[in-house]
Amino acid sequence: MAAFLQLTGISKKFGGVQALRDVDMTIEQGEVHCLVGENGSGKSTLIKIVSGVQPPEPGGKIVIEGREYASLAPTESTRAGIQVIYQDLSLFPNLTVAENIAVGRHLGGLHLVKWAAIRAAATQAMRRIGIALDLDAKVEDLTIANRQLVAICRAIAADAKLLIMDEPTASLTRTEVNSLLGLVRELKAKGICIVFVSHRLDEVLEVAERVTVLRDGRKVGTFDARDVNDKKLAVLMTGKEFSYDLKSVDLSNKPVVFEVEALTRTGEYDDISFNLRAGEILGITGLLGSGRTELALSLFGMTRPDSGTIRIDGKPVTLKSNQDAIEAGIAYVSEDRLTLGLVLDQSIAANATVTILEKLAGRLGLIDPKDRQIMVDRWVKDLSIKVSDTENQVRTLSGGNQQRVVLAKWMARKPRVLILDSPTVGVDVSAKDGIYEIVKRLAEEGVAVIMISDEIPEVLYHSHRIIVMRSGRFTGMHNPTKTSEHDLMVAVNA
């Protein structure tokens, strides 16, 4: 089979930064190809070159179905059948499903709109992938998974021959991911090539025939998907070996700091009981909607349970608000770091000290900048946050470093119990490791940690005990040394 797309010697510089260095890549006809790499490895730049948004440096060659281009204009790329589905989907929330799918018909000089043709094109695109959404529904009223289908239909309606999907699974539940992967196979059967860009390595391997790994703008290699696994890919992406083992430690002589008994909140979680010793990391996993985040919110006082007891150091506590929880020594790192955990436009120093303002405040309630700086410097060093100036906006940091700032903010309060909800969402493989190191160290210092995540390896390799949640209930306690990823996957999806 001939190649659909052949890239040879593609380089790209932005200012002084070499984003891509002499990359070759081939997409065969009807192939599902995965492109993996950490943030900043050049994945996005490569997509931009293929879609014509950025020209490559002179010397590179792009061949699409036998036709050679030195660089592509966006319209040439579209005409050649290349369609990109961006992570944010690029849909118009205020317009209908039909208009979103056939929006390409609005391009060009001033002309009349043929609504019948738009509906027909949308219907046809949906039929090609075997779905039927309400043509007149507004996209803002659809679920994320259905919005993604609309974006795929739009690409189909534009006669896509190569579909590039950027992080398509990032905000989907496991079931939705499965049906998306099914759809990818169906598109492939119709002869459409697919490039899948993903962070989640296990998914990549489920669907791809070949995987291309980028690191620091260079191609590490293209591999047959059967020859690699997610651990090997992680090594290829980062160039580092990871040790995934948590030494089993004996915690039985440590005091129980946190106890939850028969905690229930109707419609969210039901009859939850567990206890936590100082220094213990308890993993809680389950699907989106299994009640894991809802439970965390109650443990942090954000919602009130209907019944049940929470005890800290053996004493029952009532958490009327998160203020109470913070007073009681509970810290919570939310799933949504960007909107809930950080004030992005404020400085790193301001973010890291926001939880201890009253401690820093002097007699007049004013904060001594020198005291604050000492505190901030200590945390920056302790958590190895990579930063040139602590007065920079948090926005300027990478995902991994942002998460460290969130941790710093809570560490400053010396919590007894630390609740982490999906602590490594949007964090690169190598930076993830740094976060785990911090969590491990905190546990060694005696903090009791609850780590909630839907990434099974995350809880499997970094907790002392694992609880699986399903439909609001605990379904079982697992010992990480005696279970496997597969067993946990089965328990979660049962």
């Binding site: 690029s90 929330p93 205020n94 390409g104 709109v113």
Partner: protein, 330 residues
Amino acid sequence: MLEIFMRFRRSHEFWLAMVILLLCIILTVATDSFFTLRNLSDLLTSNAFIGILCAGLIVVLVSGGIDISFTATATVTQYVALTIANAYGATWVTLFLMAGGIGIVLGAINAIFIERFKIHSIIVSIATLNIFYGLLIYFTRGKYIYTLPDFFTTGVNFFEFEYDQIPYSLNLQILLLVGSFLLTWFILNRTNVGRQIYAMGGNPDAAKRLGFSTFRLNLFVYCYMGFIAGVASLAQAQFAQSVAPTVLVGKELDVLAAVVLGGASLSGGVGTVLGTFLGLTLLALLQNGLVLIGVSSYYTQFVTGAVILISVSATALEAARQHRLKRARA
């Protein structure tokens, strides 16, 4: 068919139409003068200036921007166009070409600052409102123009007839009001440019990625607003039979109120021509009705404000409820 009706029943427009209907019934019962041909004709004619401007502003709001400089634009266009007409003579065609043309140029100034310097449209248009208006007052010293060309003073009167010894006709104001709403409806719903404006208002980044030229779209939007301001200014001058440079500026918030009451969102992408017309109608009826009932005009302002606040809050609550329902079903 049933489904289309069900969709309409949940819409903002449906509720506006119901409130308007209710208001009409109350006013018809409560007063003798409301449900008369005379009052209808007066309502349309006297609200034409605000109404025509609504037809322009809805396009700006849908595009995701805002413009409040259009009253200053209207003052400039009517003053300049009619001064030239007085000095050199003019016809209907040249008069509209001048007013519309000056409006388009002033609109283009807004668009260029908004697009090239990435300044928020509200700031640009506050500034240009002051610049346009300030320059006009400086050069004219605020002098009124009382003598206008004869053909203009006479105006346009189609289908003249008498009823109860009062003459009625399809006058310039009503024609321009209806015409500008039809034109806006056609542009927004029947041309690709109109749909691109909706798309840009809903998601500007996606519009750019798709290859829509946001510069050209914004240029079109603000020039159209300027053009409409020029048209509205002639309707107003003909109605007033004079040009008064100080009376138009200050009315921009009435226009904005009507458009927002009609369901347009200040964050862009949302709003319909029908809704805008209903919002305008509701405000006009309220003011008219309260006067007919004999309520003080200060109280009218209070009621107008309250209606806007209640309506917009109700819409927001309903939207949140619908959203939750749909989420629950999904």
